[in-house]
């Protein structure tokens, strides 16, 4: 009798493994169809034909931004100066910074896939330095910062040959992919960046990062489509988008734009923002029932993607009746203002099991990331809308710092930050 459970467990395992074997290989993503089953129509954003040049410098910060910052510094604008002081005080934004590239970038090490330990902190520290130094060069015009920034970027392109690790490697591909691409984009008009080196850098992003990003968005590591939380997709979307801009590959940029609107995974903007509570003008996130650290990261990633796309002429901020504004308000209301928010139960379909989130998660409530200034200035200053809870977030984080200012762990580096300096508009 004791063998009965053993046998039945074995049988169950066998049947499960058979189902697993019968799964088809990854299908190529078809960009023409909305692969989700989201009900309700939406006005999609059209893409331009492959070959259409992208806007440079693109990325998060463009020429107009630096002109505004320059004028504000000259006018001794208190807010901008406070934001600048925050950048200058960051140890990464130092022309004596020493890059520390690795041949094999590991996130998810000491695992079946990768026996060696993690080393991804070297990537997020170095790319934060490259980005911050690029900002200092753009703002001060001093060559030393630019030289250091491209030294870091060149060193990584020359040294790093592959990404490795358990499934977490796709987080590295996404998060450090978009950050390296944006740092490179910021430096692309630096006259002393040897064109050969810049080309090598573009190639590095295309060969080491992009294939991982693309693979994840198509295959999701062989998992069922809803297994991976929104942030996994969002990091990879941001990376594909930014690499597309850096390398002038419109088809990559289009891939990101299409996935964001029509993709099957949780990074589809209408899945990442799970439900709009219309009456209250608030929108619940796919990760709101998980924990607030991750929910807040969704806001950070969507803001990054929206701002990048905005500079290419695509308005994802306004997508689906400003749904992202409502998501930011929701997240700030709950985490910053500490007020109650409405809830619609969410079924997290983790393959064979469904976990019902019957209430918003209290875990990590109060999570603060330097993200709200970017969002606030778009909706309120560019668009003339109101964002009272996002404003509280702006104040709470004032002046916003960046990687290195929010602890030594990866969460403090997931977003590039410095919103007070970079996005405050008069």
């Amino acid at each position: 009798m004791k063998r009965l459970p053993v046998i039945s467990v074995l049988a169950l395992l066998l049947s499960v493994s058979m189902v697993d074997c019968s799964k088809k290989g990854g299908e190529e993503y078809d960009e023409l169809y909305d692969t989700t089953n989201i009900v309700g129509s939406v006005k999609y954003i059209d893409t331009l034909p492959p070959g259409t040049p992208l806007v440079h410098p693109g990325g998060l910060n463009v020429t107009e931004d630096f002109a505004r910052i320059d004028a504000a510094i000259k006018a001794k604008n208190e807010t901008i100066l406070a934001g600048l002081a925050k950048l200058e005080a960051n140890s990464h934004a130092d022309s004596n910074y020493n890059p520390n590239p690795v041949a094999k970038l590991i996130r998810g090490g000491k695992s079946r896939e990768e026996p060696e330990p993690d080393n991804y902190s070297r990537a997020f520290n170095d790319v934060a330095a490259a980005y911050q130094l690029a900002l200092r060069w753009k703002i001060s015009g001093r060559d030393g910062y630019a030289r250091k920034s491209i030294q870091i970027l060149n060193a990584w392109a020359a040294t790093c040959k592959q990404l490795s690790g358990d499934p977490n490697v796709f987080l590295a591909a996404g998060f450090y992919g978009y950050q390296f691409a944006l740092a490179g984009e910021l430096m692309r008009d630096y006259q002393n960046w040897d064109p050969k080196d810049f080309k090598a850098y573009q190639d590095w992003m295309l060969t080491v990062f992009y294939p991982r990003n693309h693979d994840f968005l198509v295959n999701h590591n062989g998992s069922c489509i809803d297994h991976y939380w929104a942030n996994w997709d969002l990091g990879n979307i941001a990376s594909v988008m930014a690499i597309g801009i850096l390398t002038d590959r419109r088809e990559l940029y289009n891939e990101a734009v299409n996935y964001l609107q029509r993709g099957a995974g949780n990074g589809n903007i209408r899945k990442a923002i799970y439900y709009v509570h219309k009456e209250q003008g608030l929108a619940q996130l796919q990760e709101s029932g998980r924990d607030q650290g991750h929910a807040t990261l969704v806001i950070a990633m969507l803001a990054t993607i929206c701002e990048i796309a905005w500079h290419q002429g695509d308005d994802f901020y306004g997508f689906n009746d400003n749904m992202f504004l409502k998501a930011s308000e929701y997240n700030a209301k709950y985490n910053i203002a500490m007020e109650d928010v409405p809830w619609k139960p969410y079924d997290y379909k983790d393959c064979d099991t469904t976990i019902v989130h019957s209430q918003i998660s209290e875990a990590e409530r109060g999570e603060v990331r330097p993200i709200y200034t970017m969002i606030y200035n778009h909706y309120v200053k560019r668009k003339g809308l109101t964002a009272p809870y996002t404003l509280i977030g702006v104040n709470r984080t004032y002046p916003e710092g960046g990687g290195g200012d929010y602890g030594p762990n990866s969460g403090g580096f997931d977003q590039l930050g410095f919103g007070t300096l970079l996005y405050t508009r008069p």
Binding site: M1, L14, R365, G366, I392, R396, Y398
Partner: protein
Amino acid sequence: MKNFIVPAVIGGMILGAAACTKNFLDLKPLDRLNEASYFTTPDQFKFATNDFYEKMISWEPIDGSSIYDFMDFGSDISGYVGQDGQGKYGRGAINVPLDDKYWNNPYAYIRSINIVLKKAESYPGKKDEIKQYVAAAKFFRAWQYFFLLKRFGGVPVITTVPDVGGAELMAPRNSRYEVVDQILADLTDAIAGLPTEQAIPASEKGHVSKWAAEAFKARVLLYEATWRKYTGTSTDFEGSAGPATDQVNSFLTEAVSLAKDVMLNGGYKLWNYNANNSMANRSNYYLFNIDGTGGNPAGLDKTTNTEFILKSMYDLNLRPGSINLSHTVQTRMLPNRKMMDMYLCTDGLPVSKSARFMGYHNVADEYANRDYRMLSYALGSGSVPGEGDIKLDGRLGYTNYKFSAYRYPTYRAMNQESQDYPQIRLAEVYLIYAEALMEKNGAISDAELNSSINLLRARAGIAPLTNALVNDNGLNMLDEIRRERTVELYGECFRYDDLKRWGIAERQLNQDVCGMIVGGASYETDFKVSSKVNPGVDSTTSLYIQKNYENGGVAETSVPTKFGDLKAILLDAGSNRNFKRMHYLYPIPLRQIQLNPNLVQNNEY
């Protein structure tokens, strides 16, 4: 799949065949300990009752419990405004849950206790052999019912071991008065059957003593007497019976005499090593993290502690705390403005009256001439902050170190903190004694104060509380006794219960929650000064980022001080807080009402 069906079918047939065996259900399992063959020796009763000790909430999470649900985070003296757990409760933001582990757990424990008591009745040996364990079981049954009483008010009193169809499962709620009667009856028996601390051999230390039962009974009596006096029947559920008689005075009288017995005969002593210079008068800090000889600079280990009357015992190797204790108390058990101002000055007077109070100009000032408990809790082993040490960039500006390891994270690392948790300590007995006397007589003599709470004040370096001090300075004796309790028992899971039994919870919890005094042009601090450009106008210094505190455009509010109204950081506006009389009790979890429709929900939920 076929592989599965065949054995399943065969298995089913075998099961069916086995079910035909006569008395199948009456068989005793032979391969493990079981109720049917257990409980035949005194040791077996001891082992069974040993299990009840860990069911008192303490560091280690048992059955999903968390001490953080009880450490007064988010109360009227807390600077933690996170909206989780108790933070939510303090704001009156709780809903009826489907389940509540703090309903399910105590009832599961009570069932185990009832099994032991039932088995004791049929114990074949001499009853005297198991007297101590029967008494302990009754103590813990009282403990669990008191836990339920505090949370839910009246609950079904179950003293039997219900079967699956037992009538007990459909029982309506007993009134709080009946629950209290049950608790007191159990404690009377417990006191009669438990050994004194002195009679418990060294190898058995940690077991509950007669003194512990007396102290606990005094706690229950004071709790219930004051609840009835101030909160009355206002929280009783619909249809609840009232008190059979007015027991307030008899409860207070008994509380006084029990407390006095423990004080005189218990042999417990306040842990005061302030005479040792290396302790820097911080006994009130080190008492709560004694753990090996490295828990304090004097090398004092747990054997030096005779203040704890009943404790949950921990040990780095045998039973580490296994929660992130130091970090959590440092970031959540935070004091707010009210708490920081509640500590007396060394002359025994409050900051609003004492000439020794130095104010808030420099961040060090408010620590001068103050209660050692303020230094102990807020600074731990650290020194008073100096100019520029406190930066207000969204942080509170105060920390808490009570219960935090001495040299965290070196001695002890995260999750390794293994100090004992005080379930009952002598300091509380002094406080019960003084408060119960005051409540009973409306007066208390200097001698009575000297034999109780003035011993706490001596350890804290402040002048004794006397009738002269009260009269000469326009103080209120009851308020001062309550203040003493608030200060001494800070963070020890009493504050919410105290506010509720004093009937003042809604008034106290719904006030503005404030942080540091920032002052302004007319009262300069590290954070705000008079503008150099426009003298007389407030100007923030580089140590203060006002925006980081803005909520709806408001970062500060005025608080009354000895120096007039001063600006302080507003952490949570009173208008956001909505604690009501209904919240004195938690709601009965929904599933229990579904299972037993005779359970009446608490008022207004």
